[in-house]
């Protein structure tokens, strides 16, 4: 079957998987047959798309904070807010293959697996990057340098470098294999600490390389107005990878007050990003990165992650859905009708909707 041409201006939500609790992370498996997701309910949820099957893996004692599939093997790595990483052979068996009990002091906020599949790399609250063998979870090394918690990791497409982004807006580049720091990039625009704040706000919340490795997109928000609501202007900085200089700064046209939690490059140099907003609709945004204005956006609830299907034509977003009780105060709510907020895993097809689907 031929692949339809990429056309983000005609993207449409083709699949919706509803879930009764809030999900913050969701990824396609490397063969595109599975989706794994995690969030508030401590479970690792798996959907087998072609068979319409679903199962949940039990192992985390708190919210699932990060997950990533192995690029070659049937392994899934999941992490949580208590510093635990599990490796699952998700197609067979429901118990972890191995577990790292203390991968971080607290929250493991980011996981990546190197392209050769040998190394799992984790980072989070303790500001130390740790490298583990994917085969058995044994630690290979750790990378020190960040002074505050690390929110995001990404691997260069050539497989040679890792980048890590922290709360202060510092991005560090590391060599894979030698495990040495190569240089730092400045994304401090994405960090705010005003005189009357009692906490730092923002940070490098997302990182993504272009397919050719020439650009690095760095997401977050700038100009936070307080450390309470934490409202700011969602912002993407596009770095030229060779020079390490910012080439462009991207924003959105619509309303949003939260950071870009997720970025993904598509074909044709198009970048996709998703942000969040308080009690309103957010948007999935697309840019040609040499233009500051988006080329297209789609209304969506707040989104916390983005995953691109191996066919390069489907984009997965774990999306917030209100349970109808959000906002201040109980306003007559009772234990019986005060419902949790929920999620939908929304898959956007990045091409024109076929006529039969439109009619359907």
């Amino acid at each position: 079957m031929s692949v339809p041409p990429l056309d983000v201006a005609k993207a449409w939500p083709s699949i919706e998987l509803e879930h009764g609790r809030q999900l913050f992370r969701a990824q396609f498996s490397s063969d595109g047959r599975w989706i794994a997701a995690g969030g508030q309910d401590k479970l690792v949820h798996l959907w087998e798309l072609e068979k319409d099957g679903k199962k949940a893996l039990v192992g985390h004692d708190t919210w699932v904070s990060s997950l990533v599939f192995h690029p070659k093997e049937k392994k899934l790595f999941t992490a949580d807010y208590l510093g635990v990483i599990h490796c699952w052979g998700y197609e067979k068996g429901d118990d972890p293959l191995w577990t790292i009990a203390e991968a971080d002091r607290d929250n493991v906020r980011a996981l990546v697996v190197t392209a050769d599949g040998k190394y799992l790399i984790s980072a989070g609250d303790d500001a130390v990057i740790k490298v583990w063998k994917t085969s058995d979870g044994k630690q290979v090394t750790e990378l020190n340098g960040h002074e505050e918690c690390i929110f995001s990791l990404a691997l260069s497409p050539d497989g040679n470098h890792l980048v890590s982004g922290d709360l202060y807006g510092i991005i560090r580049q590391w060599s894979i294999g030698e495990w040495k720091e190569v240089r730092q990039l400045d994304a401090k625009l994405l960090h705010t600490r005003k005189e009357n704040f009692i906490a730092d706000v923002g940070g490098v919340r997302s990182l993504a390389f272009s397919f050719d490795g020439k650009l690095l997109a760095v997401g977050g928000m700038k100009e936070a107005k307080s450390n309470a609501f934490c409202p700011g202007k969602p912002t993407v900085l596009i770095f030229d990878w060779v020079s390490g200089k910012v080439k462009n700064e991207l924003g959105i046209k619509g309303k949003s007050d939260g950071p870009f939690n997720a970025l993904r490059f598509l074909e044709d140099g198009i970048l996709a990003g998703h942000t969040e907003i308080l009690h309103s609709a957010s948007e999935l945004t697309f840019w040609k990165v040499d233009q500051p204005e988006p080329i297209h956006s789609l209304k969506n609830g707040s989104g916390y992650d983005l995953s691109l299907h191996p066919d390069n034509r489907q984009l997965l977003v774990p999306t917030y859905v209100t349970g109808g009780s959000s906002g201040n105060g109980g306003r007559g709510k009772t234990p019986e009708n005060y419902l949790t907020n929920t999620s939908v895993l929304r898959i956007f097809s990045l091409f024109e909707q076929p006529d039969e689907k439109k009619e359907g």
């Binding site: 009692i198 609501f229 907003i277 009772t334």
Partner: protein, 407 residues
Amino acid sequence: MLGALGGLAGFGSLLHPSIAKQIKEKKKQVCLIWLDGGISQYESWHPLPESKFAGPFRSIKTSIPGIHFSELMPNTAKIAHKISVIRTMATKDPNHSTGVPRMQRGDPLDRGVDYPYLGSAVAKLLGPADPELPPYVWIKPGNGGFIHREAGFLDARYGALALGDGRPPVHIHRPDGVTAELDAARNALRQKANERFRAYRNTSDIDAYETSYDMARQLMARKDIFDDEKLDPKDRERYGTHPLGRHVLQARQLLEAGVRFVKVNSYHWDTHGDNFNMSQRLVPQADQPFAALINDLDDRGMLDDTLVVMMSEFGRTPLINSRLGRDHWPDCWSIALAGCGIKRGAIIGDTTKDGAFVNGEGYDVGHLFHTIFSVLGIQSHRQKYRHKGQKLAIAHDDCEPIKEVML
């Protein structure tokens, strides 16, 4: 410490009961730590990790068997046996603009007046603990000054002397070129001018002006209170170098010096967005100085006479919103009290399993004010304010003290 009274302590049994009571009342002091915007009960006093509304943080054991706090409060968890926590506050008002004054004024029945904030009420009802010091000092970020609005319908002199960023009032130090005699003459001239001015104008405003001046003069005589050089560096470390830590440490110094009521404000707790990242950074800023203050007051033998309250205008929603924040929740939330007639280790309140709602009635601010006044030795139902010939209740007529947390 109240040195002048300390010498009488051993003779309490020889004194006339009414005098002994007066002396005891004189010793009562209060520290109110106000976390403006609303600390999340799930990320502090009532974590409920198995609740569908729980955050991601650990629940840790406290010094009371079977009682858990959030891992973000490790210091307070160790002194849980010294404090009380009410987990079933149900306070009706979900708005900052009305919730803050309601929670600090106690919300007596509406009789068409602006009731005083708690510090002003205590300053009026108990007077200064040390006549040489202002009765009500408010340590807050930002600007300072004399905030007479806190006094409500009371005379403006019961307002708060605010120390902006914990700094002493400006001009606390008499310039070198002004001798004590010259300064006294200056003040006499000022007072004379005020008397003349007072004859034709609203006396409350003049009272406020004079009070602020008098307080500045009082503090000039006690400028040692503001001498940071005297602080033990270990104390600074224990309380924390962040604003709330520094300000609670200063509150301890003011209490030790004999100030009747000290309020310490911290702002920016209104975590509608990024609640979990923010709580991770904010809650320890309250935990550290709160526990240090309780321990220090206890070690100094002051805790039994000093009431410490840590609270906000409401808690935060069980539901987690689209920005991973929590909104305002007055329906079921937590406050902490310690010292001065408050039980040690009473963690009370029956909530639904998920912590979202109170089982039963819960406690409103009227109950809290009756409790606070009662442990300070103020008869909260019998004692009244007098205002323009009208007797006014000092706390809500229909509420009672919360006996579960009182000795």
